[in-house]
């Protein structure tokens, strides 16, 4: 059984086919990476999966049940959490309160879920700071912590390491793999292909709103279509 599934999903804006006929299936307890150049439709697909944009056609399934007509706010309750491509924190709340917003989903959040999210993302020293006082990399961690505070079963991450240095990226990659080992299914959108190879169990490559390749990281990054989309760069596959 898949955790989340998209069948022949299309999102058109007028004449622009941002996403056009994408099939995607996430297996439980795995990290699936979504790869593709800017404008290839990754973020739109994420918006479609979280019901922020209406589908032009297609079916969405959560644990096998159709949800393409569900209210977007109901998804968080059903265990779907996400981070955004741009930092979206509430400027007047402290870091701790911003994380707490994730846990507010439940009237009585499980004990320690906020502290746990803060600790795992390495935000312990800045809990009382406000978003305006944080570096960009730190702000991105708060985004992840807030998503974790919703106690999700499925985490959708839109470029979580953008603006971080190499050491920080490594740290986030380790965190994501640890979460995976605890059973959290994830969909990861990133531009850092090396990080994707190191982190993901499966890769899906998109271009022009459609899936051009999918499979293990080694298969996908050596796929000729993918190579062409990324202008012939080569990556090492650890597998």
């Amino acid at each position: 059984m898949t955790v989340i599934e998209a069948r022949d999903v299309a999102v058109h804006y007028g004449g622009i086919k941002a996403v056009d006929g994408v099939d995607l299936a996430l297996e439980p307890g795995r990290i699936c990476g979504l790869l593709g150049p800017n404008g290839s439709g990754k973020s739109t697909l994420l918006a479609a999966l979280t019901r922020l944009v209406p589908l032009t056609r297609g079916t969405l399934l959560l644990d096998g049940a159709e949800y393409q007509n569900a209210a977007p706010a109901s998804l968080a309750r059903r265990g779907v959490a996400r981070t955004f491509q741009t930092v979206r924190l509430l400027p007047d709340l402290t870091v701790a309160e911003n994380v707490r917003l994730g846990a507010d989903l439940r009237r009585r959040a499980p004990a320690g879920v906020v502290d746990d999210a803060i600790e795992r993302t390495g935000l312990g020293d800045v809990v009382r700071a406000r978003p305006g006082e944080l570096s960009y990399g730190m702000s991105r961690r708060v985004e992840i912590a807030r998503a974790l505070a919703t106690s999700p079963r499925l985490l959708l991450l839109d470029e979580p390491t953008a603006g971080m240095n190499q050491a920080e990226r490594q740290e986030i990659s380790e965190l994501l793999r640890r979460l995976r080992d605890e059973g959290l299914t994830q969909l990861l959108v990133e531009h850092d292909v090396q990080l994707m190879i190191d982190t993901c169990d499966d890769l899906v490559a998109m271009n022009f709103g459609a899936v051009v390749a999918h499979g293990s990281p080694a298969e996908v990054v050596t796929d000729p279509d993918v190579q062409r989309a990324y202008l012939g760069k080569k990556w090492r596959a650890h597998a």
Binding site: L52, P72, L105
Partner: protein
């Protein structure tokens, strides 16, 4: 103290009425809903209370309750009809709604007393009752600014899409802000009518929109405290400005313009910044 109170009882009453009116605008603003429908609700409350008192002889709290109930129902319907609008468009639609009501009461015949309004809505509503109601409203609203509801409302205002992604019922909160604004506005209007025993169409015109808006812009729209500051300032300003005589309106205008240009977060915002700066003089390793 007692002498002062007796000399100023009308001003004290109107300060608490103004507070409720300002809150009827501030509550939707806090949720990012630029609705001025609270003014229309004020009119609904004012006229409903007068009518049920005059024609049915209802006791004051029943009359106020009737006005609040009617205003809340209409506010909810308004929230449904105006769901697609936001920002300035929502503001203008709700101003238009409020002004339509003011024309309607002029043309309401015997029911609303036409251009003369209604007289003789005598009741035993006391200043103490008004203060108690205002304090109760402030306590409830203060609670809604803390903890989970506070964070939810902040999220709805600052970033509705983000709010949805963490499961905040954005639409429901927006609708609730309309309804609560309607309840507060109607409560203010009804109590004002019963205290003064009269209501006229001029009372619910464009100037009331301006008053409510200026109170929370000068006071601050983020919290009930801003509405309180605005209500206090604009109730007592005429007394303070007595020496400028006829030029009061001019000074008003300058105060409002200066606040809008230079102090967008209001007096409350200024105070909060000041307190924040006192608490954390400098971050370790911060700028020199």
């Amino acid at each position: 103290m007692i002498a002062w109170y007796e000399a100023n009882v009308v001003l004290i009453q109107s300060m608490f009425i103004s507070l409720l009116l300002a809150l009827s605008i501030q509550v939707p603003f806090r949720a990012g809903v630029f609705s001025l429908a609270g003014i229309g609700s004020y009119g609904i409350g004012a006229y409903t209370a007068a009518i049920v008192t005059l024609q049915l002889g209802w006791p004051p709290f029943a009359a106020i309750g009737a006005g609040m109930l009617l205003a809340a129902v209409i506010a909810y319907l308004l929230a449904l009809v105006l769901a697609r609008l936001s920002g300035l468009y929502l503001g203008m639609a709700t101003i238009a709604y409020s002004l339509i009501l003011s024309v309607a009461v002029i043309n309401g015949g015997e029911l609303t007393g036409g251009a003369q309004g209604l007289f003789g809505a005598v009741s035993d509503l006391q200043t103490g009752h008004v203060v108690a109601v205002a304090v109760a409203a402030v306590v409830l609203l203060a609670l809604s600014e803390r903890g989970r509801p506070g964070r939810w409302i902040d999220a709805v205002r600052e970033d509705p899409e983000l709010a949805v992604s963490v499961g905040v019922p954005v639409t429901a909160i927006r609708q609730l802000s309309f309804v609560v604004g309607g309840l507060l506005g109607a409560c203010a209007g009804a109590m004002n009518t019963l205290l003064r025993t009269t209501v006229t169409p001029e009372e619910v015109g464009f100037h009331l929109v301006v008053l409510a808006l200026t109170m929370i812009i000068v006071g601050g729209s983020r919290s009930w405290a801003g509405a309180l500051i605005g209500a206090v300032v604009f109730t007592w300003l005429p007394t303070v400005l007595a020496f400028v005589g006829e030029w009061q309106t001019l000074v008003y205008g300058v105060v409002v313009a200066v606040a809008a240009i230079f102090v967008p977060t209001g007096i409350l915002g200024l105070a909060q910044d000041f307190v924040r700066r006192l608490r954390r003089p400098a971050l370790p390793g911060g700028r020199p």
